[in-house]
Symmetry: C2
C-alpha cells in the first residue's frame, strides 16, 4: 500500500458521521404532493446471503425473488444491524442503532418482560408513515416484546396477524414443544387458532390485505415471515412437527428440507406479488425484500464465513432487493453498503416524510441511490455482540473484527472470506478503527451482566468445536 | 426410522472388514498379458471438494479437469486418508492406513528426522509397479521424509524432480522465508536451482517426461503439484513472494488469487494431457486426478463444513476423477465411497499385479467399479486426528464424529453439512460405531505424546475463534 493509499484509507476511516449528507439529494418532487407509493416490506428470517438464486444459490430455485431483483435493484453489500432476529428488528422499526434501547441489547429477546421490548412511545416506521397518511399492517413475526406491555398495535400498526415471539412451529404455531405450550398466533391482541403451514398462512393473509386496498390510500404492509428459521419443516412435514422434542431442532433438518422451506417462501411471496399486479397496484408500490440476520446452520453463505450470532460477514450480510416500477430502474446491481436501519429514512423520504428530529436516524436515506441520483458512497457501520465479546466496524472496504481475544483487520471487498489478517501490515488503520469503535460504543447503552445473549457452541454444532457448551469463549 | 431400517443400518455397521470381497471381480484379461496401461497419477495439494467447475466451482474455470471428468468417471464421495498432506501420502503410496507407520502419524511431517519418514524397505505403489515392468517417476512434492534417510529414489521411483517437504514458495522454491533458508528443489537427490512458477515447472517437466516415453514400456508418472497450497501466489505474483514474512501466509491471499492458482494448475495439467494425446499414448493411459486432503482457507467446500486438519467432511472429502479411454466409459458420475489407499490395489490390478501379501491393502480395488463390472458397495472407513482429539468412522451412510468432547452421529448422505446430530435418535448405531472405532484404533500405532499435529486456531482464523492459540481444545 502506497502512502497515498494509506492517506485515502485514513480519510475513509475519519468519515464516520452518520452519512446523512446525501439527504440534500432528496427529490423534492416526492415530498411535494405527488402520489405516495405503497410499501410492502418483506422480511425473511435467518435467510443467508447466498440463499437466493440471484445471489448464488444453485441447489434450489427462487424464481419470484430472482424476478423481483431483475425488475429492480439488488444490493451486494447489504448488512443486518445485528447477527440475530429481534435486535435487527429494533433497528429496522426505529431507524437507529438497536443499542440505544434496552430491548435492543437482547440477542435475541427470549421471554415476556415489562421492561424488555419496544417502548410504545418510540417513533417507528409505521407510526411515522401513519402521520404521512398511510394505513399500516404487520403480517407475521413481531419479536419486539410481549403483551400486555408491548406489541405492534401499540407501536404504529393498524392491524396485526402473526406471532409475538422469535419462532413458532410451522404447523402447531407454538413457540415450543408439548401440550402445555400455548400457541403464539394472534389477530391483533387476541389469540387465534388456525390450521396450516405458517408460510402459507402469512402469504394468504397478505394476499387478502392487498385485495382489500384501494388506490389513493397508501399503505405499509410489513410482511415478516418466520421462514426459513428453524424448526426444519417444509410444507407437508407435519410428521416432523409431531416428532421434534426441542424447537431449536438440533437433531433435524437437511439441505433438501431447507430448500423446500425457502422455495415455499418464494412461492408465497410470488402469490402476494401476483395479487398486487392483479389489483393494479404494482406500479406504485415499493417492494423491499431482505433478511434479519445472516444464515443459520443450513444456509448458503459462500463465499462468506460465519453465521447467525457471529459478526463475521456470513452472520450479518443479507440479501436486499428493492422494486419500484418506473422509479427504480430495472436490472440494477448495487455495491452500495446498506444496513437495516437505512430503510426507515429511505421509506419516509419516498413517502414525503422524514424521521422524527428528536430521534434522528443512524441510517442513511438510500433514495438517491435507488433513483440513480447519487453514486455509491462509503459508509462507516458498527456492530457489537455480547457472546464471544464480538466487536466490528466496517469503514470503506476495511473491517476491524474482534472475537474473544482475537483481533483482525480485513479488506472485506478483496477478501470476503476474512482470512488475511492485515492488522500488522496496516497498524495505523487497525488502531484507528479500534479507537473509533470504542468512541461509538460509549454513545450506546452499556452491555450489562443481565443482557441475554446466544452463541453457537461445539456440543450442538460440530464445526464450532472450540466453543464450550456455554456458547462463549473468554474475552 | 422403521425397525427394518434400523436392522439395515446395523448390518451396514457390521460390514466392517476391509472390503476386499470384490477382488474376485478382477478382470483376468488384464492380468493375462494384455498391454499394460500407463498411469499418470495427478495429486493436487489442499484442493477442496468443490474447487473444480465440475464439482460446483463457479468463481473461476477449470476446463481441462472438467473435460477429464467428462471423458471418464467422477467420484462424488471420495475421501482422503487424512486431513493433512503427508499422512494421506503415506496411505496413497503404501495402500494402507497411514497409522501403521510411525511417519504416517505425523500431521504433517515438519522437519528432517532419521525415524520419521517412509521406510525404504516398505513396498510402495511405484516399487510394486516396477515389479510389473513399469518405469516410475515422481515429479513434484514428496513429503514422506527427508534425505539422507528417506526419499523417492529409495522407495521405488526411478527418477524424481521436485521438493522433499510440505510446501515451497512458488517463485523462490524455498520452504520458508529469508536468505538463510535453502531451496527445496531437487533433481533426484541433488539440489538444483531453477527459475519459474513452480506449477509451470512441474507441468513442463511432466510434458518432457511424456514426450520421452515409448509405447510398449508402461510407466507410472506421479505428478504431485503443490498447488493450490499456500503461500497465496498466482503466476506473476513475484512481488507477493518478495513480501511475505511467513510461508503460512496468514496475512495474505484472497479468492481471486486462489482462483488464479487453481486455473494455472488446470492449465498445467492441460498441457500434460495434450502432450499425452500428441504422443499417441492417451488411449492406453489411466489418468487419475485427486487431492491429498480437504480445502484450506480459500477453498470452496460448499455444502460441506470443516476444512484441512478437521475430520468434518470438508476436511477429508476430495475430488477424484479417473479417465481411461476405451476401458472406463465416459460421462460417469459415481457415488461409490472411495479413499486414497484404494488407488494402490486398483492400479496394481490394472497393471496385472497385486499388493504384496505381507502388506495387504486396507483399501479396495476399485477396478470393477471403474470398468462397470460391479455396482457401488458400502464401505467402512476410519480416521483419527490428534489435534482436538478427533475420531471418525463412516459406515454406509452413517458417520460417527468426535471432536474434543463433542460426539455426533450424522447421516452424511442426507445431511452433508453435518448439522443434525442423530446420536440420541439412533443410540444403537451411535454405540456400535463408537465401539467399532475403538476396536480399529487398537490395531493401529498409538498416538503418543511425541506425535506432531497441527490444527486451525482462533488467532489466525476468525471463524475458529473458540480454538486457542495452541490449536487444540481439551478432549
Amino acid at each position: 500500500m502506497t502512502k497515498h493509499q494509506i492517506n485515502g484509507a485514513r480519510r475513509r476511516v475519519l468519515q464516520s458521521l452518520p452519512a446523512l449528507a446525501l439527504a440534500n439529494y432528496l427529490p423534492n418532487a416526492l415530498a411535494a404532493g405527488k402520489e405516495q407509493p405503497n410499501i410492502i416490506f418483506i422480511l425473511a428470517d435467518d435467510l443467508g446471503h447466498a440463499d437466493l438464486g440471484v445471489y448464488g444459490q444453485t441447489d434450489f430455485k427462487t424464481p419470484h425473488l430472482d424476478r423481483l431483483a431483475a425488475d429492480g435493484i439488488r444490493f451486494t453489500q447489504a448488512y443486518a444491524n445485528s447477527a440475530v432476529c429481534s435486535a435487527t428488528r429494533f433497528a429496522l422499526i426505529t431507524g437507529r442503532y438497536q443499542y440505544r434501547l434496552r430491548g435492543g441489547l437482547e440477542e435475541p429477546i427470549a421471554g415476556a418482560s415489562d421492561t424488555i421490548g419496544l417502548p410504545p412511545s418510540h417513533p417507528t416506521l409505521p407510526s411515522l408513515l401513519k402521520k404521512q397518511g398511510y394505513g399500516t399492517a404487520l403480517i407475521g413475526k413481531w419479536h419486539l416484546g410481549y403483551l400486555p406491555t408491548f406489541g405492534p398495535l401499540k407501536s404504529g400498526y393498524d392491524s396485526f396477524f402473526g406471532n409475538y415471539g422469535g419462532a413458532i412451529d410451522y404447523f402447531t404455531h407454538k413457540p415450543g414443544v408439548g401440550p402445555n405450550v400455548k400457541e403464539d398466533l394472534y389477530e391483533g391482541e387476541v389469540p387465534v387458532h388456525q390450521i396450516g403451514y405458517y408460510t402459507d398462512l402469512l402469504g394468504a393473509r397478505a394476499v387478502d390485505f392487498v385485495n382489500k386496498q384501494q388506490a389513493g390510500k397508501p399503505f405499509l404492509l410489513s410482511l415478516h415471515y418466520t421462514a426459513p428459521h428453524w424448526p426444519w419443516e417444509g410444507p407437508g412435514d407435519e410428521e416432523i412437527s409431531r416428532n421434534i422434542d426441542n424447537i431449536f431442532h438440533y437433531d433435524g433438518g437437511d439441505l433438501a428440507t431447507y430448500g423446500r422451506m425457502v422455495e415455499s417462501l418464494d412461492a408465497s411471496i410470488g402469490r402476494v406479488l401476483a395479487a398486487l399486479e392483479k389489483k393494479g397496484l404494482a406500479e406504485n408500490t415499493i417492494v423491499i425484500f431482505t433478511s434479519d440476520n445472516g444464515g443459520e446452520r443450513f444456509s448458503k453463505t459462500w463465499p462468506l464465513t460465519g453465521q447467525k450470532t457471529e459478526l463475521l460477514e456470513g452472520g450479518i450480510r443479507v440479501p436486499a432487493i428493492v422494486r419500484w416500477p418506473g422509479k427504480v430502474k430495472a436490472g440494477q446491481v448495487s455495491d452500495q453498503v446498506a444496513i437495516s436501519m437505512d430503510w426507515l429514512p429511505t421509506l419516509l423520504a419516498a413517502a414525503g416524510g422524514a424521521p422524527d428530529p428528536k430521534f434522528p436516524s443512524d441510517g442513511q436515506n438510500l433514495l438517491p441511490i435507488l433513483l440513480g441520483q447519487a453514486r455509491s458512497n462509503e459508509r462507516t457501520l458498527l456492530w457489537r455482540y455480547k457472546a464471544n465479546a464480538q466487536r466490528a466496524i466496517r469503514s470503506g472496504n476495511w473491517k476491524y473484527l474482534k472475537i474473544g481475544k482475537n483481533e483482525f483487520l480485513f479488506d472485506v471487498v478483496k477478501d470476503q472470506r476474512e482470512r488475511a489478517n492485515l492488522a500488522k501490515r496496516h497498524p495505523e488503520v487497525f488502531a484507528q478503527l479500534k479507537a473509533q469503535w470504542e468512541t461509538w460504543d460509549k454513545q450506546m447503552l452499556p452491555i450489562t451482566a443481565d443482557v441475554r445473549t446466544h452463541g453457537v457452541s461445539g456440543p450442538v454444532q460440530a464445526d464450532r468445536y472450540g466453543v464450550p457448551a456455554s456458547g462463549s469463549v473468554p474475552d
